[in-house]
Symmetry: C2
Subunit: 403 residues, 2 copies
């Protein structure tokens, strides 16, 4: 077993820069039904092919009138009009509103010809076919004008827009049954290690369960990307190479290596055979033995085997990459400010990922060691301590990125 | 057409209180594969059936030794040991480590019998079957003890825990292939109105596209709940009743009523026939003509027809209800603080939902009118102005809830 220790470590900032530089936004496009379009990113500008509303319409339930018929109206001396027609939602007027007449309208109904405003039902009193108007209106009052919301030919949404619920509504408003969007990122997740066993199987002596494939799948899916699990592959060159090649139709292959340097070396060798190693080893704690490379257009991550190291790397590097790939906006709102409950001494020269619990505005250390999955599961989030900071004092304000 | 104007309006706080009081957390349970468990909520405490790690293991690549053999070791005077065996990941020792001997181990390997510590490969020099140890270790050094992460019998996760990526990892660590979780909420979405047409269809004169079903589906899915779209139903009592009854196997039926008071009256009447109206009319702007009731264990919302009113009600009432149903934690981190770019005069007596754009820490009004879907699609989020506040000054700090 020729163990090659990691030599020169890249700084975390340099490593992240390399990761993001090599990450291209996805150009593949697809069309999805509107009912499934929420959270996706538009790949085309959307131009309204008609006005919204498509016609002048009543903005209130009431009576469509000629405004001038109401100018003298008041509570004490109401204006009396003849109701010539009643329009329910979707109805079109058959009659023209002229002086002394009006048409009863429901909100949203197309304004009858002749009418130039609507008197709200609250300001009227109806007796048989006559209605008393108790308040004057001006022309255009309680009318939504054609094109007031969206004018035909206007670009209502732009390529790159994230489809929030209201933007999905805009697509519906301009009559689109489908949304043209960029495809989501696809991530192929491989575990390796002779000692690794799938959960649900009996655990022989000396073996451990495959944790990383599942925690990686959860974090990948949380970004909106798709995860495929390739299971556990044997620790030999041929198996690892085959597993990587099977994932090359994905945007990213994430390899959660066995925990030893020897196994990682096989992955380095295979990466060099089939593609290019971009870096190996980062000055970050935990997560040092991280490998990053590329085969064709697929990016490859060799994550450390320890669950916390693997997941903290995913939070700090894989997630920003996937968000860039999927053109998702930067999310600042997930960071909560808290004051540190105790002084933390960090390892100078290594960017530290430090898990914390949040309690009433205080951030309490939750970190145990990178082999312990409970360091993360009992935490609410993490703080990052840059490599050039060796001490964070008790009471200092820190930004906590929530899990 | 007997139009019944809304009479007594409930305050927004009272309405929200009623909504949340009538909302019961879902008790239905299911088991989901671990690879799909992220974001779900556990319905059982999870107890570790074995220790994690299940055995004392090497925490570093190196040599398993008797610590006392290294006490005198130093750079200038290394201790020399005989390598009796090499253990790769998953291997079990065949030989016992005794004085003067050691076993080469990969990280994660079960500590061989006899050994009580590990010397890191960095602190050694190997020549043939002999290795020089340049640094002393103490007993237990670079060894992860059996049960150090999780002790057998410990409750590692609790019912009600949201399955974050690291908690999914904990399930894997204790060997679970499936996660016992509460079911997600199911929401049945119905549109009504003779004037409403599905997107993708031609738009006849006087008609509008069905916007609300799609923006509601997006907001419902965004909470993690499942949405079923029941399409557009006719505005008569029998059709509306049938549509509601078809949705009664869901947790919530959301009815985006036609826009007129007349249509809403049909819904009120049907709700009274088949169940109970809990409130009708809220002092909130937009969103006043909102109806809430219950049929059996299914909650019913009659949302106003205007897209902004419908969606703002969904943000302010439906989302908190769904989150309570699904036992999801309150999310404060989605609120961003900003200073208001201009004075806003609000309607006293009505809780106002006010859309804003965010620009460099400033919140700029984006509201047009409740009929306009663009009031929301061009906004980044909203602020709420309570009913007893009639004025928010320029420069005041406001909390913006992002879309």
């Amino acid at each position: 077993m020729a163990m090659r220790p990691l030599r020169s470590l890249l700084s975390f900032e340099e490593a992240l820069k390399v990761c993001l530089e090599k990450t291209e936004p996805i150009e593949r496009r697809e069309s999805v039904p509107l009912a499934e379009a929420g959270g996706r990113v538009l790949c085309e500008d959307i131009t309204a092919s008609s006005d919204v509303p498509a016609f002048d319409r009543a903005a209130m339930d009431g009576y469509a009138v000629l405004a001038q018929d109401t100018y003298q109206a008041g509570t004490l001396k109401p204006a009396a009009l003849e109701v010539i027609e009643t329009l329910y939602a979707g109805d079109l007027a058959k009659k023209k509103v002229g002086p002394g007449t009006c048409t009863e309208v429901a909100t949203g109904v197309k304004l009858p010809p002749g009418a130039d405003g609507v008197v709200r039902v609250e300001d009227t009193e109806r007796v048989g076919s006559r209605v008393s108007i108790r308040r004057p209106i001006h022309p255009g009052q309680y009318v939504s004008r054609r094109g007031e919301d969206v004018r035909r030919g206007t670009v209502v949404l732009r390529a790159g827009n994230l489809l929030t619920p209201s933007r999905v509504g805009v697509l519906a408003a301009v009559g689109r049954a489908e949304a043209p969007v960029y495809e989501r990122a696809r991530v192929h997740i491989i575990a390796s290690g002779e000692e690794v066993v799938e959960p649900g199987q009996p655990l022989a002596d000396g073996r451990v369960y495959n944790i990383n494939s599942y925690s990686l799948a959860a974090i990948v899916q949380d970004t909106g990307a798709r995860a495929t699990l390739a299971g556990i592959v044997a620790d030999d060159r041929a198996s690892i190479r085959r597993a990587i090649e099977e994932g090359l139709d994905c945007d990213v292959v994430v390899f959660s290596a066995g925990s030893s340097v020897g196994e990682r070396d096989i992955l380095v060798d295979v990466m060099q055979e089939v593609g290019k190693v971009l870096f190996h080893g980062i000055a970050v704690k935990p997560g040092k033995p991280t490998l990053f490379g590329r085969v064709g257009r697929t990016l490859l991550f060799g994550m450390p085997g320890y669950p916390t190291s693997c997941l903290s790397n995913a939070y700090m590097m894989l997630v920003p990459m996937l968000r860039k790939m999927m053109r998702l906006p930067v999310r600042q709102e997930e960071r909560a400010q808290a004051s540190l409950s105790t002084r933390i001494v960090s390892v100078t020269g290594r960017h530290q990922f430090y898990t914390v619990r949040l309690d009433d505005g205080e951030a309490l250390p939750a970190f145990k060691e990178s082999g312990a999955i409970t360091s993360m599961s009992e935490a609410d989030g993490y703080i990052e301590i840059p490599a050039n900071v060796d001490l964070v004092e008790k009471g200092e304000k820190v930004l906590v990125r929530r899990f």
